[in-house]
């Protein structure tokens, strides 16, 4: 029997888990990552990972986790895969525990669990406030073990450029670029699993890491891989604004008792601790008595926007609210939240043990992503699989906190074996494909580089990127109006036009980050259009997608998945029904006070 060849692109949680599963099946893996995998964006996940272990005698169950996730996602997710994920979650926690993740413990030596948004149960396992980092490291270590055994070969410092697709429309490998030598090379593979993460850079500033551009997803989209529900973008309610990035302040801060408030008097100039409790407006607790500070993120974010922009209650007239941890004992803060308190203190020079933090919502996550089938994480192009944030299937219209880590790991666990099965069943492997197919793709990519390096225009890639980010953040995040979405798309088209005149200030053929960024920028602009057009078309409000002109969820017309397809250089949207066979859709109110 021939030995299958599998490639994994992306070394965050999903990519590492997929790698482990393929290697464990005895199949060699080539793992590609822009950064050393240990530096992937998964390190930024703070608060925890969900699994209904019911260790606190609350009667939690995987069925309840499933219901919370579907309700939290406003019924847009196909339900069977969500159910499978929630049922797998307790086993995933056990596995991570066996790998040595330093989860916080109870007195009895068991894993501790805390509250998170969108649920009434203690369901979130955590390792301080750096859970993503701890889980990423555990998976990184397992992959390193396979690497030492010769089962995994890493290509760190390489970026994905395109898939190699043969005349029959089957993917036969990838084309990638070494970011040090700038060498462009093709790598044959029977199947490639894409775990390329988030798209924050499309919004300029976000809570995402620098590499989260969505460039790989967009490149695949332009090669015929469909993209689903792009318009669903999560804006996290509590981030610290910064010019280079919006630094996340984990939902776990509220899970441990942190409270959101603003002074009742607009523009109140007093320092926070001098404002007595009766002169503070605890907006989430008043508006949502049942869930309080732990309503889902889309709801918390809109509430904060309402307090700041409609009621003019931002702190001192500025766009910010307090996230107050000062009532929580120091010992609890240090044991459970140290990682994020340290970030606040280092970057703002204020100690959150003593002073309420100032926060504002920031772009955080994409629920939408590469379209995959429900059972196998397979895209519509044979040989291409996707898992993790880059695909669309687990979170519907809004993701619950601490569900991302579990969806990444579960997706990787499914994608790895599915890709192996596919590769083993192939009649003709990638080695039988004519070399001209690979050579043609390599040439096409080298020509793009060559043209960019020679180009002599007046536009700066960074300036174009900033403009895109500003427009996307202003018009395609929390509150959306059709008129503005149309203008945003027109702007994106204008930027694509101006892109033809960009000028690279670095023409070196060695470690040229400017060239790589210019390539990513083009892909970001295309994906930005997919997001804006999806938002423009969807005339309803659902989860994170909110249009004041269409304030209600409209199941009759819009309980359907948006599916974007690239056709002759144009973006075409079509729709497919959502599988709601397990939990009938119901109104989503989170016990709002009327």
């Amino acid at each position: 029997m021939r030995e299958p060849k599998i490639i994994v692109v992306g070394g965050g949680l999903a990519g590492l888990m997929a790698t482990i599963r393929v290697a464990e099946a005895g199949v060699p893996v080539e793992l590609f990552s822009i950064v050393p995998v240990k530096r992937s964006h998964s390190v930024c996940a703070q608060g925890g990972i969900n699994a209904a272990k019911n260790t606190k005698g609350e009667g939690d169950s995987t069925a309840q986790h499933f219901d919370d996730t579907v309700y939290g996602g406003d019924f847009l997710a196909n339900q069977p895969p969500v159910k499978a994920m929630c049922e797998a979650a307790p086993g995933i926690i056990d596995l991570l525990d066996r790998m040595g993740v330093m989860f916080n413990r109870t007195a009895e030596g068991l894993l501790d669990y805390r509250r998170f948004g969108g649920t009434l149960y203690h369901r979130t396992a955590f390792a301080g406030a750096t859970t993503g980092q701890q889980i990423l490291y555990a998976l990184d270590e397992q992959v390193r073990r396979f690497e030492a055994e010769g089962q995994v070969r890493k290509y760190e410092g390489w970026t994905f450029l395109s898939a190699v697709i043969d005349g029959a429309g089957v993917s036969r490998g990838i084309c990638a670029m070494d970011l040090k030598t700038m060498e462009v090379r093709t790598f044959p593979a029977d199947a490639a699993i894409f775990c390329t993460g988030g798209i924050g850079a499309i919004f300029g500033r976000s809570t995402n890491s620098v590499v989260c551009t969505g460039s790989a997803q967009s490149a695949l989209f332009q090669q015929g891989v469909d993209y689903a529900n792009g318009e669903f973008i999560q804006v996290h309610p509590t981030a610290i604004p910064g010019e280079d990035k919006l630094r996340l302040m984990s939902e776990s801060a509220r899970g441990e008792g942190g409270r959101i408030w603003v002074p009742k008097r607009p523009g109140d100039p007093r320092p926070p601790l001098e404002i007595p409790p009766e002169e503070r407006f605890y907006l989430l607790e008043e508006w949502y008595p049942k869930y309080g500070n732990l309503v889902p993120r889309d709801i918390a974010t809109r509430a904060i926007h309402r307090a700041i922009f409609e009621m003019k209650l931002g702190i001192g007239g500025e766009p910010a609210v307090y996230l107050d941890l000062t009532e929580i004992p120091r010992e609890v803060l240090d044991r459970k939240l140290e990682g994020i308190l340290e970030i606040y203190e280092k970057f703002l020079g204020v100690d959150p043990h003593q002073q309420p933090m100032k926060v504002f919502p920031g772009m955080h996550y994409t629920m939408g992503g590469i379209w995959v089938d429900n059972a196998n994480q397979a895209t519509n192009v044979p040989g291409i699989y996707a898992a993790g944030e880059c695909e669309y299937q687990y979170h519907g219209a809004n993701r619950l906190g601490a569900n991302s880590l579990v969806s990444c790991i579960f997706g990787g666990m499914v994608a790895g074996p599915a890709a192996v099965r596919y590769a083993r069943e192939l009649q003709k492997g990638c080695e039988s494909v004519d070399s001209s197919v690979f050579e043609g793709e390599r040439k096409r990519q080298e020509e793009i580089n060559g043209a960019l390096l020679l180009q002599d225009g007046s536009e700066s890639p960074i300036a174009l990127w900033k403009e895109m980010g500003a427009w996307m953040t202003e018009h395609v995040t929390v509150t959306r109006y059709n008129k503005d979405l149309e203008r945003a798309d027109a702007k994106l088209q204008e930027l694509l036009e101006r892109y033809r005149r960009i000028n690279l200030s670095d023409r070196a053929k060695w470690s040229n980050q400017t060239l790589n960024f210019a390539r990513e920028l083009y892909n970001m602009l295309i994906l930005a259009r997919v997001i804006a057009l999806g938002a423009l078309a969807r005339n309803e409000s659902r989860g994170a997608h909110y249009k004041p002109e269409f304030p209600e969820r409209d199941d009759k017309n819009w309980l359907k998945t948006t599916r974007a397809h690239w056709e002759d250089g144009c973006i075409r949207l079509s729709y497919e029904p959502v599988d709601t066979s397990l939990i009938p859709p119901r109104a989503r109110r989170y016990g709002a006070a009327s």
Partner: protein, 250 residues
């Protein structure tokens, strides 16, 4: 009218691993909450030196920008630290940016730290598991042990501890404090401890724990305040014990 506040930044540049380094100076517009990353982005947006000469954007590594990924370590005013958490208002000017000196330069401020990952491989820095299939939970662990191990597990492999260690030099293959501390971490875990011997054998070999000369610079520079000297002492103890045991059993 008040004069516009500016930030002076001097960058040590190098176009490739074998090229000669040179300095360039940039004058940037000051804004509140600026960090070194924002300075480097300003230069990239308008790559013109202070004396008006066009140049290329500065090449550097970065990713999370919140000091948890370990990418953007460099020398800022001579001190190894993460560029993202180096705030302009806390730095004396001109701000000097240089690549770390203990790793090969790739270009400008980007260096090749792959030796650290290779050493983690050599030291078998992992908890071996039988497989990813469902085998129930991991071993129970006291909260005390978790609280002791967790800080070690927060190492971001930035390389600052190697940069300041006099034992890390061209004549020595010393693995450095970060790697030794990882050996301690995995030897601490109940399952990891079952395989402590193979890790200790590796760390007793060339470039291992015996090469530490106790300068104690590592623990002072660590951006995550990891008790590195404690880790070195502990691994040393374990190694001596194992060495003695090996000698006794013969």
């Amino acid at each position: 009218m008040a004069e516009k506040k500016t930030v002076l930044v001097r960058v040590k540049r190098q176009t490739g691993p074998k090229e000669r380094p040179y300095w360039e100076e940039f004058e940037l517009t000051w804004r509140p909450h600026m960090n070194v990353i924002i300075c480097l982005r300003d230069i990239a947006e308008r790559p013109v030196t202070r004396d008006g000469k066009g140049t290329a954007p500065v090449v550097y590594e970065s990713n999370c920008l919140e000091e948890v990924c370990g990418s953007c370590a460099m020398l800022v005013n001579g001190k190894a630290r993460m560029a993202c958490s180096a705030l302009v208002d806390q730095l004396s000017q001109p701000i000097r940016l240089e690549p770390m000196s203990k790793f090969p330069v790739v270009r400008d401020l980007a260096v090749d730290r792959s030796v650290m990952f290779e050493n983690l491989k050599r030291m078998r820095a992992w908890v071996p598991i039988d497989g990813t299939y469902n085998l129930g939970g991991g071993p129970r662990m006291s909260p005390d042990l978790q609280q002791k191990a967790y800080p070690l597990a927060r190492c971001i492999t930035c390389g600052a501890c190697l940069e300041v260690c006099p034992q890390v030099n061209e004549n020595n293959s010393f693995v450095g404090a970060a790697i030794i501390s990882q050996v301690r971490l995995f030897n601490m875990h109940p399952t990891g401890a079952m395989h402590a011997r193979e890790r200790l054998e590796a760390i007793m070999g060339p470039g291992g724990v015996a090469d530490c000369a106790n300068a104690q610079n590592c623990v002072k520079i660590c951006p995550k305040q990891i008790p590195l000297t404690e880790s070195i002492a502990e691994v040393n103890r374990q190694a001596i014990k194992q060495g003695l045991l090996g000698w006794l059993i013969g």
